[in-house]
Every structure is written in structure tokens, then in C-alpha cells.
């Protein structure tokens, strides 16, 4: 008998029913499948690779550049795509670049090493509903606005200052010194002002520090000449100089101190960039010696540090991680937070990513401190500081004693010409 299929035959009916059922199922389930199948996470990386903070921005960028390979090694896959944008050390440019990155498809933003720029980008992130993971920016108000999409894995200025001042106490105890006076010089940008506010609030309440601040001098971070400021600081005849600086001004400051033959007991930063950066050593040579920065630092023994160091050696053989560790470490960790959230959320939807970031609990870190875990304000607590002194032209941990590579030198010998 001929087995021609009749239009109304049971076999044909079952086939049509199956096809209709599949179509219905796929229509209902399609959006969920598409969302879940996000194959790539687009991470917008905002850093100041030009302008006044170019050197530090470029240093941070190493952390971003090594991230894809290291994350792949760590099991986060190879589907993290970085889209770089230059903030030009300008707040307005940072804002517009953040908007452009989001329009270009970035599902999460990372950066921008500057409190002013971070505040501007946080507003954009909040408006657009895109998570923003801050690598380095200390102004406390950024995570006090009630933003739902801004997250920070870096200490705030009060935390930096508290840790920094405690390390000063440890320094004076370790060296059996008791300086009585200090001049405080600081950049007058958002970060510098936040630090000053923190020092003004915290220092008078501390009874374990022997010194008082006899003068406070602020200056423009983009200044080309600090001769007046240093002359003013020198005339106050302080025992030591406390400084909150950026990089270029830190270099100018040291040069000016040498030109004006000013030799205080030491130069100590309670928590700011500049004096441990590669360019500081390159520009000043031996004049960079003995400066102390009390800053969040990396754990040289951590497994992640070794991974990042190895990848840096492959990609940037001329650079040494120790001269970029803070910048590289925090920038990498910011991208790690994004990658970790992507892995858990299984989607690149910005709102789902933000929710996943809130649940972050990363124990494998490069930087000293507890796990990366955000509190209700989007802030990680427990990042630790170390006293980093420039010894033999390299940043050397001198405190806390448990992690020290060398004993601190304070007061410092007279400056020698490079």
C-alpha cells in the first residue's frame, strides 16, 4: 500500500503539534535564554592616561591590560572585553567619556583613579543604571550619596588618614623619636580637600601622636612652581613635613626642598600617591630616598600577586610590578569584581550585575586586607595600609613590623645630590 501522508493523518498532526509547541516554548523562553547567553562582558575602563595624572593613569592601565589573561587563568573565562577611555585628568571629560562608554555598550564601568572624576562618573552610572566599580578614589562622599550602582574597593580618606596616623605612631615608636611640629602641605583638589578634612577632624582627637600641625599649605595639583609654598613651609621650621600630594607635585616639592636647602626629619604622607611611583624614582634618583608613604599596599606573598607579576613580566618586560603595585592591584581587583559578578550572575545585564556585585565575597586578593565584600553603602571595609619607605631606590615596607622588609629610617640623613 502506498504510504502517502494525508493532510489529516495522525503522523502529520503530531508533527504539526510538535512544531507549534516548540515555537510557543521558544517564544516564551527566548528572552531568558538570550539574557543568560550573554557571551561577553564589556568593561569600560576610565583612567587619566593623559594630563597631569598621566603617569599614574598609565600605571593603573597595566592592571587593566593584564586582567584578561589573569582572569582567564583564574577560571573567569576569556569573555571579558575592555573598552578604554581617557579621562584626560579632567572631571568634565570623565563624565562625557563615561556616557560614551555606556552608549558604546559597556555594561560595567571601572576606574578612574581620581575622586573628582569618580564623583562625576558615579552620577552617570546612577542615572544610566550601570554598575561602576571604583579602583582608586578616597573622597568619602562618593559612597555616602545613597547610590545603588557605585561600588568602591579602596579606603575612604578618613580610613586612610586613621591608618596613616596610626602608622606614624608606630614609626615614631620604632625609631624612638618624638617630633613636636609638622607642616601639612596638600593638593587642593577633591582628594586633597577630603584628606585635609579628615586630618583636621581626626588628629586633634588622637593622644598617641606627639606633634601638632603648625601650618597648613594647599596648592594646585597642576602647579609648575612650588617655591613659595616650600619657602613658607620651611619658614615655619617644623620637625617634619606631612604631605598629601599627587605625582608631579611630589617631584616638584622634593626638588624645591633641595634647592632651598631644607632638611626636616622626614617627609611622610598619611595616605596619598606620588612618592612610591616609578616616575618619582626616575625623576629624582637618590633624592627620592627616605620618603615615607602610609598607603594601602599589596601582599607580595599572595598567589594572585605572583600571577599578576608573571603576566606583567610577559606583557611589559621593562616594568617591575613593585613600582606599580598599588595602581595595578586595585585596578585589577576592580575588574575582578566585575568578572566575578558576571560569572555568578550569568548575564551582562547591568542591573543584574549590580545585584551580583552587592553579593561579592572574594578572598583571593592581591592587596592587603580582608575579603572584597561590599557593605550597604557599596564600600569595602578593612583595606590595610603599610608604611612604604623609599630605600635603595625601591618602595620598601618598613611597617607594620610583621610585614617589614627593612627597619625604618627616621630622622633621615641630610639630602645628597643625585
Amino acid at each position: 500500500m502506498n504510504q502517502t501522508t494525508h493532510p489529516r493523518s495522525p503522523k502529520r498532526r503530531r508533527m504539526l503539534q510538535a512544531a507549534a509547541g516548540s515555537a510557543a516554548l521558544s517564544t516564551i523562553g527566548f528572552p531568558a535564554i538570550v539574557r543568560g547567553q550573554a557571551s561577553t562582558l564589556n568593561v569600560g575602563v576610565l583612567l587619566p592616561v593623559s594630563g597631569v595624572q598621566a603617569f599614574i593613569g598609565q600605571s593603573c592601565k597595566y592592571g587593566a591590560d593584564v586582567a584578561p589573561a589573569v582572569l582567564a587563568e583564574m577560571g573567569y573565562g576569556s569573555n571579558i572585553r575592555l573598552i578604554h577611555a581617557d579621562t584626560e585628568t579632567n572631571v568634565d571629560v570623565a563624565r562625557s567619556r563615561a556616557e560614551k562608554l555606556i552608549n558604546d555598550g559597556a555594561q560595567v564601568l571601572v576606574g578612574p583613579f581620581d575622586s573628582g572624576a569618580a564623583a562625576a562618573i558615579a552620577q552617570v552610572a546612577e542615572q544610566k543604571g550601570v554598575p561602576f566599580v571604583i579602583n582608586i578614589a578616597a573622597a568619602p562622599q562618593i559612597t555616602e550619596q545613597g547610590y545603588k550602582f557605585t561600588f568602591r574597593n579602596f579606603p575612604t580618606s578618613p580610613e586612610l588618614v586613621r591608618n596613616g596616623l596610626a602608622l606614624m605612631r608606630d614609626l615614631f615608636q620604632a625609631t624612638s623619636t618624638a617630633p613636636r611640629t609638622a607642616v601639612f602641605m596638600h593638593v587642593n583638589d577633591t582628594f586633597g580637600q577630603a584628606n585635609r578634612k579628615a586630618i583636621d577632624a581626626i588628629l586633634p582627637r588622637l593622644d598617641f601622636l606627639p606633634f601638632k600641625v603648625v601650618d597648613t599649605i594647599s596648592y594646585d595639583p597642576a602647579t609648575k612652581d612650588l617655591s613659595v609654598e616650600v619657602a613658607k613651609a620651611k619658614s615655619a621650621n617644623p620637625d617634619f613635613l606631612m604631605v598629601v600630594s599627587r605625582l608631579n607635585d611630589a617631584i616638584l616639592l622634593r626638588r624645591e626642598m633641595v634647592k632651598q636647602r631644607w632638611n626636616p626629619m622626614g617627609v611622610i604622607s598619611p595616605g596619598s600617591p606620588g612618592m612610591y611611583e616609578a616616575q618619582f624614582y626616575n625623576a629624582l634618583g637618590k633624592l627620592s630616598e627616605y620618603c615615607i608613604s602610609n598607603v594601602p599596599w599589596y601582599d607580595p606573598k599572595a598567589a594572585l600577586t605572583r600571577r599578576i607579576e608573571a603576566q606583567m613580566a610577559k606583557q611589559f618586560p621593562k616594568e617591575k610590578l613593585m613600582f606599580h603595585a598599588l595602581n595595578v592591584g586595585y585596578t585589577f581587583e576592580a575588574i575582578l569584581v566585575a568578572a566575578d559578578a558576571f560569572k555568578r550572575a550569568k548575564t551582562a545585564d547591568p542591573k543584574a550585575l549590580a545585584e551580583a556585585i552587592r553579593q561579592t565575597d572574594i578572598k583571593e586578593r592581591m592587596m592587603l586586607g580582608g575579603p572584597i565584600k561590599f557593605n550597604a553603602k557599596g564600600q569595602v571595609e578593612g583595606n590595610q595600609s603599610a608604611a612604604i619607605q623609599n630605600l635603595n631606590l625601591r618602595p620598601t615596607v618598613v611597617l607594620p613590623a610583621s610585614a617589614a622588609e627593612s627597619k625604618p629610617v627616621f630622622p633621615v640623613p641630610e639630602y645628597k645630590r643625585a
Binding site: V49, S50, G51, A54, F55, N188, I217, S218, Y219, D220, T223, K224, D225, S227, V228, E229, A231, K232, K234, S235, N248, R255, V258, K259, Q260, R261, L287, R417, A418
Partner: protein, 291 residues
């Protein structure tokens, strides 16, 4: 509490020395406007170009930047001459807004060429005496400031001597005083204009080499130097060479004293305040001619 006298003295001297270099930089702008009646809105960008040229020359030959001021000045002279002759001359009699647009366009081109060639990072030159200072009683004065200021005075004196004692200099002054009269007596005004632009550019070039001893250079600094030069020229008097030098010193010292007596971040505020006062009460400038 009164400030220590040695502090005030040190700051005043530092301001005076810096002001002499600013004055030389502004001289170039004043020379060009005084004769050619064109405002060089690319002034600051030409200065940064000179600073980069100096860095290259110092790197290649090991010359001191102050010595490099001579060849850099010569190169800028040729550039300025060619620019005037080739591009700016047709605009001398055109409306001022077209001159403005032309020179701003030149400025933008210069900045971007510098960005492409040298990148955005700050550069400088290191000299052996960069961190040395003279100690004279309570005064401690940077050697680089002293040398840069001395070179600026020498360059300015040479310029004054050129305009007062040479035939070409007198011819240029004649063009500035009476354009028609200069043509009537047979002076080649177009050539003299080009020479003047070249001389102004050479001043900028020399000033750039001296400034390099004091500050780092980035391509985007040009507009700030243009603005500073404008302020100095307006305060001193457009077209007045002595005025430009004097105003440079005034601005240099006022910046330094403002930083000391008010706050370091008030330096620019005082500079602009001086500008406003001059515009209100003596709009032709301190040593400029009225009308």
C-alpha cells in the same frame, strides 16, 4: 603674625627672576603686535614648540638649554618669517576676527603636532646645576632662576639695541609709526613685517629655552602661556617693549607675593585682578600710548 623678612625677601627675588623670563616671552607678542598689528594667538603654542625643540637639541648635542636658545631662536625666526610671509600677510588688512581664526587654527595644529610627536607626558631637561642655589646671607636663590633671568635680560637688551641702533630696527620702527610714510620712503614693508614676526617668534623661542629650566613642558600648556603673555602685554601696554618687560616683573612678583600673603592658590586671582584694574583705570597699559 608678621612674616620673617628673609622669607619675604626670598619670595620677592624668586618672583622677580621668574618675571624677567615671563617678560621676555611676552616681548615677542608685543613686538609682533606693535609693528604688524596682528595679535599672535598661537604665541603659547610656539613657546611649547620651542621648548620641545630645545629638548631634542639638548638630547642630541648635550648643549645647555641657555646655549640652545640661539639655534632654537634662529629656527623659530625662520618659522615666524615664513608664517608671516606665506600665510599671515594677506590677513593683515582683513577684519580682526579672521586673523583670530587663522592664528587659533595654527595654534591647534601646533598643539596636535606636538601631541602626536612627543605624546602627552611632561618632559624636561636635567642640567648639572638644576638643584644648586646661591646663598647670599639670608637669601637662597636657585641657580637656574638666576641664569634664566640673566639670559632673558641679555636677550631683551639685544632686542632693544637692535631696534634703536640698527638700520633694519629703525626701519621696523618706522613701519610701526607710520605705515604710509614707510612705504613712501621706499621701505619694503612686507619684508619688514615678516622680519618682525620672525624676531617676535625668535624671542618666544629663546624664552621657551629659558623657561624649560624652570618648568616641565606638555603640549597642552600652550593656551596658558598665551593667556599669561596677553595679560603681561595688556598690563604693560600693547606695542611697548619696556612695558612688556616691566609688566612681566610685576606679574611674576605679584604671583609670588600672593602665594605668600594670601594663599598659594590665589596666585592667578591676583594676576587677573591686576589686569582688571589696568583695564579699568589705564586701558592703554602702564607704559602704553593712549589712543
Amino acid at each position: 603674625m608678621p612674616l620673617p623678612l628673609d622669607l619675604v625677601a626670598n619670595v620677592v627675588v624668586a618672583g622677580l627672576l621668574a618675571g624677567l623670563v615671563y617678560g621676555l616671552a611676552a616681548l615677542g607678542l608685543s613686538v609682533i603686535f606693535g609693528v604688524v598689528r596682528v595679535v599672535n594667538f598661537a604665541h603659547g603654542e610656539m613657546m611649547t614648540a620651542a621648548m620641545y625643540l630645545a629638548i631634542v637639541l639638548v638630547g642630541l648635542t648635550g648643549l645647555d638649554p641657555l646655549v640652545a636658545a640661539v639655534p632654537v631662536g634662529a629656527i623659530l625666526f625662520v618659522f615666524g618669517y615664513a608664517l608671516q610671509r606665506g600665510l599671515i600677510n594677506p590677513f593683515v588688512t582683513r577684519p580682526e576676527h579672521t586673523q583670530f581664526m587663522l592664528l587659533v587654527a595654527i595654534a591647534i595644529i601646533l598643539v596636535n603636532v606636538q601631541l602626536m610627536v612627543f605624546g602627552p607626558n611632561a618632559r624636561n631637561v636635567q642640567v648639572d646645576y638644576a638643584l644648586d642655589s646661591f646663598e647670599i646671607g639670608p637669601l637662597i636663590v636657585d641657580k637656574v632662576r638666576v641664569y634664566a633671568a640673566a639670559a632673558a635680560v641679555l636677550a631683551a637688551a639685544s632686542l632693544f639695541a637692535f631696534f634703536r641702533r640698527t638700520l633694519v630696527g629703525k626701519s621696523i620702527r618706522a613701519c610701526a609709526d607710520n605705515y604710509l610714510g614707510a612705504q613712501v620712503v621706499g621701505l619694503n614693508v612686507k619684508r619688514l613685517y615678516a622680519l618682525t614676526f620672525g624676531i617676535g617668534a625668535a624671542c618666544v623661542g629663546a624664552a621657551g629655552c629659558m623657561l624649560l629650566l624652570l618648568v616641565d613642558v606638555t603640549p597642552v600648556q600652550g593656551p596658558a602661556y598665551t593667556l599669561l603673555a596677553f595679560i603681561i602685554v595688556i598690563v604693560g601696554g600693547m606695542g611697548s617693549l619696556t612695558g612688556a618687560l616691566a609688566a612681566g616683573v610685576i606679574i611674576g612678583m605679584s604671583e609670588a607675593l600672593a602665594g605668600l600673603l594670601i594663599a598659594p592658590s590665589a596666585k592667578s586671582m591676583v594676576t587677573f585682578a591686576i589686569l582688571i584694574l589696568v583695564l579699568l583705570f589705564r586701558p592703554q597699559g602702564l607704559l602704553g600710548r593712549a589712543g
